[in-house]
């Protein structure tokens, strides 16, 4: 009944399952988490099943073979249980999750479980992940500043793709800082973290400074100093240097090509595609191995980017760059 079922039918089925909770329904309800209209009812039904529902969700969370759109909704379904076990399931996966989007969803799920996060051992685990995010933020910041410096001194590099790459680095840096704030903030009650985030979004310097002090008050010194530095309104170079020093991290940005090479291996397909686009703009044939690896990981629309850049670089044989076969191209949806 549920194979290719329309959302309305899935919602009806979820309602029936909610009325008669049964562990055997759990796999079907988890599938329905991928459908917006059925999702809230499916969540209620999984919760109504009880421990067996949570176990099924815990088993599904690490499964990378499940569609990403579905996996991203599992963490909030788990946090619905508001229990020690639910918290540990999310923390366990957060430490191993490879997909940044799912990691973000897990962190948001943990935000619903603040009462369980008061336990010092759990906060230590969250703080360790916050530290990793701060390291990422510092490295992305270093790359961004180096790219901006190089683009300013050599206008040849300041192409649309180059500027987009700088914007992507800034996004990654701010995402990493945001994750660190959310993780460190798990130690605070919901009212306090709301106030802190409100102050951080504002321009009142004194309120920002007070909020940062409260936010990091229970964090280890390295995390506290690094986060405070990154949230400060000092110039970028100063913030970066202070944060790197706090984390005892040495920053090696390499040259422009080396950074582009690294961006071709980024976990975000959008970033890999923008880096490839920029490689094409600059005609950089020296990055062929990384380009080929990135091309092999591309899908749908981003395959078009790699194919076009490969042609531009004179690598017309698509086999050479390991392209995936194209799915329906962008013209597949034309309605003219």
């Amino acid at each position: 009944l549920l194979v290719d079922a329309p959302p309305a039918l899935q919602s009806d089925v979820a309602r029936v399952m909610l009325a008669i909770p049964d562990p055997s329904h759990a796999p079907y309800l988890i599938q329905m988490l991928g459908t917006r209209r059925a999702r809230p009812i499916a969540r209620d039904a999984l919760f109504a099943i009880g421990d067996e529902g949570l176990n099924a969700l815990a088993d599904a969370l690490p499964r990378s073979d499940l569609p990403r759109q579905l996996r991203a909704h599992i963490p909030r379904s788990i946090s619905r249980f508001d229990s020690v076990r639910a918290t540990d399931v999310l923390l366990d996966q957060l430490e191993h999750e490879a997909d940044g989007w799912v990691r973000f969803k897990i962190i948001r799920g943990l935000g619903q479980l603040r009462a369980q996060m008061r336990d010092p051992s759990r906060m230590r685990r969250a703080t360790a992940i916050a530290r990793q995010n701060l390291l990422r933020a510092v490295h992305f910041m270093a790359w961004r500043l180096a790219d901006q410096r190089d683009q300013a001194s050599d206008p040849h590099l300041a192409t649309p793709g180059g500027e987009l790459l700088v914007a992507a680095l800034l996004d990654k840096e701010s995402h990493a800082v945001d994750r660190a704030v959310r993780l460190v903030g798990l130690a605070s009650g919901p009212d306090i973290i709301h106030d802190i985030r409100r102050a951080l979004a504002g321009r009142d310097r004194r309120r920002r400074a007070d909020s940062i002090e409260v936010l990091v008050s229970e964090s280890p010194p390295d995390v506290a100093r690094a986060l405070a530095a990154l949230l400060d309104d000092a110039p970028d170079m100063v913030r970066m240097a202070r944060a790197a020093d706090a984390l005892h991290e040495s920053l090696a940005t390499g040259n422009y090509e080396a950074r582009l090479d690294a961006m071709l291996s980024d976990e975000s397909e959008a970033v890999r595609s923008v880096a490839a686009f920029h490689v094409g703009e600059l005609g950089l044939t020296s990055l062929a191995p990384s380009f080929s690896n990135a091309a092999a990981r591309s899908s749908d629309l981003s395959s078009e980017v790699f194919a076009r850049v490969a042609r531009l670089l004179g690598r017309a044989s698509l086999d050479n760059v390991g392209l995936q076969p194209l799915a329906a191209g962008p013209l597949g949806g034309q309605r003219s």
Binding site: R36, P40, Q69, A72, R108, Q112, P160, G161, L164, A167, A168, D171, H175, H194, D195, R197, R198, A201, G202, S268, E269, A270, V271, S273, V274, A276, F277, D300, L301, S302, E304, V305, R308, G329, P330, L331, G332, G333, Q334, R335, S336
Partner: protein, 324 residues
Amino acid sequence: VNPALEQVEIGPLDQIRSLRRLFGIQTGISSAPLAALAAHAITVRIPAGTELHSPEEPVRDVYLIIEGEIAAQYGSAYRAYGPQSAIGVLASIARVNNGFHSWALRDTLALSLRVEDMLEVYEDHFELMYAALRSLSRDGIELRKQMKPHAGFSNVVPVGVVCPTRPLDLVERILALRHTFGLGHSHVDELAELARSSNEVRYPAGTSLWTVDAPAETMLLVICGSIRGSTRDGLSFQLGAGDIVGGLGMVAELPRWFSATVQEPVVALSMEREVLIDLLEDQPELAFDFLQLMATALIALREQAAVESMQTSPQASAELAGTV
């Protein structure tokens, strides 16, 4: 809470009931998000004459009127609001002050919510976020229908934007989206998802895209070309590169409010409603970008409408309607 205001206990059920009235029972919002909002809301009694929002201060709190009357002013746009109105929502979502000023006209009972709490609950409960988007879209359509002769649009389209001769790849779509109204500061990953979820479409001049009252299931993010819009009341306007065409009706879940015909050959990214909603739910920051875009546009439209109304009829400015 504003220290000038006396807190009143009305109980969580009454708070939820007030919120249900505010959001409109017909929107079908479930109790859980309303309970989450109610958990952050404080009921306050506001004496007549109390200033709630000052033109010099950022909006920190919104007020949902249970009983009484509050006056609100954006620049030249002034109106008195009664029960089931929300005050301060637009300015807080748009994150601009623009001289927003409000004060109680009579002794008023209202739910008070901190802006950050409200936005946090929106982020956690997409139903509310979408209800807000839908509500702002409906307000936008109603306002545009009253604005003659160009429905509040500038009626000027960018010239010299060359249409791509071949289908755009992912990065080219992202670059085009960064030039789309309101999306210039969106994150690259979010724009990539938007780009992936849309279809590139090409229409020759003279193509009728839709007519008034047709179902509004798609919107177009125009990359090049121009589109002529017209309504049964004689409004006429042009939209072009960087514009989002048909988005208000689509999000509002209302039939098309204008007919659209291609004037100069168009290349656009077309997006369906269900796809957009799924995307906005999964990418809360993109949803906030859209919400901010709509609130900012609505504030500007209100001011424009007020100025135009005063030029034609000095009394008309008090008749402007909508959430503020």
